[in-house]
Symmetry: C2
Subunit: 308 residues, 2 copies
């Protein structure tokens, strides 16, 4: 089935303890689309870039069967640019540069043929931009998934709550879940957030894995213990893209399906951090993915027959 992705397509310049990059392609929309493209979903993307955006990156998306006719190209403007530097522990970073450029006035236009798409993934963007996309759909998608971040909680909480009330799944990190809910316990935070709208809450804990809350059910997906994280940029978006792509690919929104989708997303994120930017996501094989998922299964598998 089809998955409509809305999110930034950008240039990033990244510095980690292992090295630094020139301007490379980045943006939530890019990571989400690439990750989702490996599941069986047909991916469409709504985004905006400037005239400086290199054609090779659009070609890259297309080579992954991503339908890019929803990407506006503003010839006389510049692509969104972000630059950041990670600290030695790789768990925190400083933003060095944020140039909104085309993203500052982004008015999303959903192409006519995307308006009946059944699965919608709203990447991290201003909550009113996210809502404008929902409002352009012909019919309410079967599942709407959103990402967001602390910046919107600090600056546009009312708008954010309005958008949250319209979605089915929210994917945020642990600190954001605590900020959004005012609760320290993640179990309580998820409960409070579910009352704001999303029936399903995914809390990403980075190297500590992710929690999935749906109704009274909870599922925990570990992160793979890695010898080294090369570049965490885009890991959260890649996770969300893998999750959304898996759900759209199978069309199944049950809790059991979402559990597998969280593992799929975690596996995609574990690839993402192995190289700079999207490099590792460019040419994965289905065998790569299958073996990675088997590692997740092995990592937590135990024979629980303790009654013997």
């Amino acid at each position: 089935m089809k998955l409509l992705v809305v999110g930034s397509v950008a240039y990033d310049a990244i510095e980690t303890p292992f090295g630094k990059t020139d301007k490379i392609v980045g943006g939530a929309g890019t990571y989400i689309s690439l990750a989702a493209s490996y599941a069986k979903a047909d991916v469409q993307i709504v985004s905006v870039v400037g005239g400086d955006f290199e054609k090779k990156y659009l070609d890259l998306l297309q080579s992954h069967n991503v339908d890019i006719k929803g990407i506006q190209i503003k010839e006389n403007e510049k692509t969104f640019f972000w630059s950041g530097k990670y600290h030695n522990d790789m768990n925190s970073r400083d933003t060095l540069v944020t140039e909104l450029n085309v993203l500052g006035t982004f008015d999303p236009v959903v192409p006519e043929e995307y308006k009946d798409t059944e699965f919608l993934m709203l990447g991290n963007l201003s909550p009113d931009v996210q809502r404008k996309v929902i409002e352009q759909m012909n019919k309410r998608p079967k599942l709407i998934i959103m990402d967001t971040m602390n910046f919107w909680m600090d600056t546009m909480m009312d708008e954010l709550k309005k958008t949250m009330s319209m979605v089915d799944v929210i994917s945020i990190n642990d600190e954001e879940a605590r900020q959004l809910s005012g609760e320290y316990s993640l179990v309580r935070a998820a409960k409070a957030i579910r009352k704001m709208g999303p029936e399903t809450v995914i809390i990403k804990k980075g190297e500590h894995g992710a929690l999935l809350f749906k109704d009274d059910n909870v599922f925990f997906a570990p992160a793979l213990p890695l010898e080294e994280v090369f570049d965490p940029t885009g890991a959260g978006d890649t996770f969300a893209g893998g999750f959304a792509g898996y759900i759209a690919g199978n069309g199944d929104t049950s809790f059991e399906s979402m559990k597998r989708a969280v593992i799929y997303g975690s596996a995609m994120a574990s690839f993402c951090v192995e190289k700079f930017g999207i490099e590792r996501l460019e040419q994965l094989t289905s065998n790569d993915i299958f073996f990675r998922i088997s590692k997740f299964a092995d990592l937590v598998k135990f024979d629980c027959n303790l009654k013997e």
Copy 2:
């Protein structure tokens, strides 16, 4: 089979955001012994208390079939006392009082009938005290497990390394693993620590679960997502006690058995934090434990047939 536990038996006074206690029984040896008593191990303990130690607590240990003849009672001295106050997030605490008392001069004496015990759990104590116990054994136990803490790394690293070189399993938390190894990545930390002696390394991550490293194998046990942690005191010792008790109870030191033992320890720790001190560990039933372990199994269980 039999498990010999060496560890402090103490008085604690605890303050958390939920309330505070008077002097209650505490100490690593107490938590370890109680947790291990629920597995099928016959527990023996070597420790020391003062004349002020209440008989009812010795009776409590005995009512859990813990053999207490290895507890020295120094009539004219006082029991080790620790007092601490937890911060609101329950992840950090201030030590208010530490009175070593009898523990300051603790010279462990292993009773003759304990000297052939096949499983040995060294609770957190000065590494030379831990070593004195190993040296009193008639034959090398089948498995020696040790706990330790950052204090000994700061003050007695050489002694600590000597003791580490004599054990099979070490159980420490993530910050301690980083300090001990100088490695930030826990995968690398475990590798470095294994080179210091212990073939098996368990890294406890509190609310984020625990990692088990043995040879090239790694296993991850989640922590149960809890609405509220009432009192974390003793959770790490309870985990270690559950682990050691499970291994000794079954006599099986394979990786598969250790995986189940880590889950068993995690389940026992999840009970421990529900009430003050040892309160929740006093009267568990085998059904309580079985259902708790089932929760752990459900939490991470997914059908990984993703090839469909």
